[in-house]
Symmetry: C2
Subunit: 389 residues, 2 copies
């Protein structure tokens, strides 16, 4: 049986899912006509990996752009194989009849510039040298990621977006879309994100980078012919994992449970706690699917996120936004605290922007935009109605 039949099978089995999906690629740029980054450095060639769910209408004005977080990918919905255990990360939000309704909208989900999941990044081969970029990859910004996405959309014939929506670093991209291309977007929905990255978030990012660089296998980014710096990247992820949760949820999930029932720590003071086991697992899982240099470049792009850059102030940047906006914060988020998002909401209201703020009541911390995505359906549905009218 060919792919088409298998796709029909899975679509029948998952009636409210986009079903089987595949990665697509678009490449642009040449040595003579390179992509120019915000800092004036260049990339001779940029490939973007993306997924597309639902049909684009003839006027190409039914497109929703879904942007992902730090270690995310283009895989926002559906499955790659019928027997896969895993669906895309926003399976509850994207699909036929869902809040991002693929019967009506065409959802495009690109992997970011600097990434390692199909889009050009530091582990890509530099066409000018024939070797992986490593640390010769230029510093990139969230704005560069967005500018690459605009080029990709142009290649697809899309000149206007119905909505840009994403969580965490995906929210930074949504916000930048509203600021730098105000005439191209009807609506933006940045989730668990901010107008600029806080000092505390930069501090965690720097600790994560230092963890990678401390691993001797990192070898100043030149590890492509040897072993990857798994220990360093795993530690970076362990640190990140704490910031994606919250004190209450960690108490609920782990508390002081020992990792193994057969070795209760009352009897063995050296025993590992369950929370440690969890961090180790999270670290090891990331190592299998992510590149250490990408982690360095993308966390730096997050640090550099500041919509005011080039516009003089956050207010002046926000003033450019013409899109309707829904800002979502998470009560227990310790990475993008609600009060920062509330402040941006206040500023946007004062500027007369059509904006609303909704706060998710969740103990899950930053990760709630993934773990408890269903909670966002009511405010998102309301927002979709506001956009459509």
């Amino acid at each position: 049986m060919g792919d088409i039949n298998r796709k029909e099978d899975i679509n029948t089995a998952m009636p409210d899912s986009v079903g089987l999906v595949e990665r697509k690629y678009i490449t642009f740029g040449t040595a003579e006509d390179p992509f120019i980054l915000e800092n004036r450095q260049t990339l001779p060639e940029v490939t973007t990996c993306y997924e597309m769910y639902g049909e684009m209408n003839p006027s190409a004005d039914n497109v929703i752009l879904v942007t992902h977080g730090l270690t995310g990918s283009s895989h926002a919905a559906g499955k790659f194989k019928p027997d896969s255990k895993y669906t895309g990360y926003w399976e509850s939000l994207i699909g036929p009849g869902k809040v991002f309704d693929t019967n009506r909208y065409c959802v495009i989900a690109p992997n970011v510039l600097g990434g390692c999941r199909g889009t050009t990044g530091p582990s890509s081969i530099n066409p000018l040298t024939g070797s992986p970029y490593g640390l010769s990859f230029p510093i990139i910004t969230i704005r560069d990621m967005v500018r690459v996405q605009k080029r990709v959309l142009e290649e697809l014939g899309v000149n206007r977006l119905k909505l840009v929506v994403g969580g965490s670093m995906g929210g930074m991209q949504a916000l930048e879309w509203g600021v730098i291309y105000p005439d191209m977007v009807d609506a933006i929905c940045p989730i668990a994100s901010a107008a600029r990255t806080s000092a505390q978030c930069i501090a965690f990012d720097e600790c994560m980078r230092r963890a990678i660089m401390l691993d001797p296998k990192w070898n100043k980014g030149e590890y492509h012919n040897g072993e990857a710096p798994a220990g360093g990247l795993a530690l970076a992820r362990m640190i990140g994992t704490i910031t994606y949760l919250s004190d209450p949820i960690m108490q609920k999930m782990f508390g002081r449970k020992p990792a193994m029932q057969e070795s209760p720590y009352e009897h063995d003071l050296h025993a590992r706690f369950d929370v440690e086991r969890y961090l180790h697992e999270e670290g090891d899982l990331l190592v299998r699917r992510f590149d250490a240099n990408s982690y360095l470049y993308i966390t730096r792009a997050i640090d550099l996120h500041d919509i005011s850059r080039g516009y003089g102030s956050v207010e002046k940047a926000l003033m450019r936004i013409k899109a309707k906006a829904l800002l979502i914060g998470i009560r227990s988020d310790i990475l993008f605290y609600p009060h920062h998002i509330q402040e941006m909401h206040r500023q946007m209201l004062e500027l007369g922007i059509d904006v609303s703020y909704w706060e998710m009541d969740s103990d899950y911390g930053h990760d709630a935009f993934l773990v408890e995505q269903e909670k966002m359906i009511p405010p998102l549905l309301e927002f979709m109605n506001r956009i459509d009218c």
Copy 2:
């Protein structure tokens, strides 16, 4: 001029200080009569470094025990040298006429077991082998630290404590004193501490340990003949430093300031942020004064802190306390959240313990018990009056 004259000079120059101080040492234990730890392992010899401020009265019943945090030392007040820039860490609280009044009380401040500031720890020489313990040092607990302190006090002829007071890990010791030696203590004051360590705190501790162990110079703890794992220990401290502050204070102190005025990041996207410079400095400073293996053992002791151990429940442990208690929390503390301390306060009230809770209004996070120690003077003065009457 001898030391005494110099001491008088400095005492004249610092009228409200304990002035010049010196480290003292007490050693106990032999191979035949070793110190037995909570987990039944033994130490053939334990040396404790301590400082003492003020005079012990003949009945030895005016002693205040001051216990320190993770990377602290016995140096709680005064100066080691007249020209030293640095005083002990609680200079505003300990001294003649101060809240811990050395005209009335004898303050004893010991360095903890497992440490590296004069008390036996993993960098000490094992008298049975003639080599540093390294990872052959047994796992220790907060309770072991307290049990060593009790032995030291016995050597000094002290059978009763007026007060045990300390912040962070020092607070854990104060609490354990109240629980395991209820008949020896009149009062306890645990500051920014908890009845047991939270999952989030254990998680941060494990990341810090992994940072040290990731450094190839750590060499499974056998680095005493080579270079110390400075990179790993510095990263551990960087992580810790974030948890000792708070989002609001980091925004105030650093925000998005670039590290160097001559390289504003608007023009150089690769520039280092000031918050990164601060973390690097904090990391490098700790490396000069702390031992990596001690960091591993002491953070593990913090993880294992749980006053319920051996008593069945936190309530049953708290029930043992006969001391008057003042619990202090810090509003912005993200390591020992006020709500955990409030819960302990509620439990203690229900058990009929003479306890009060005071919350410091500070943006400085966990570190406020050091940085804004003056703010604690009014509630501490009130508590001292409550003890005295």
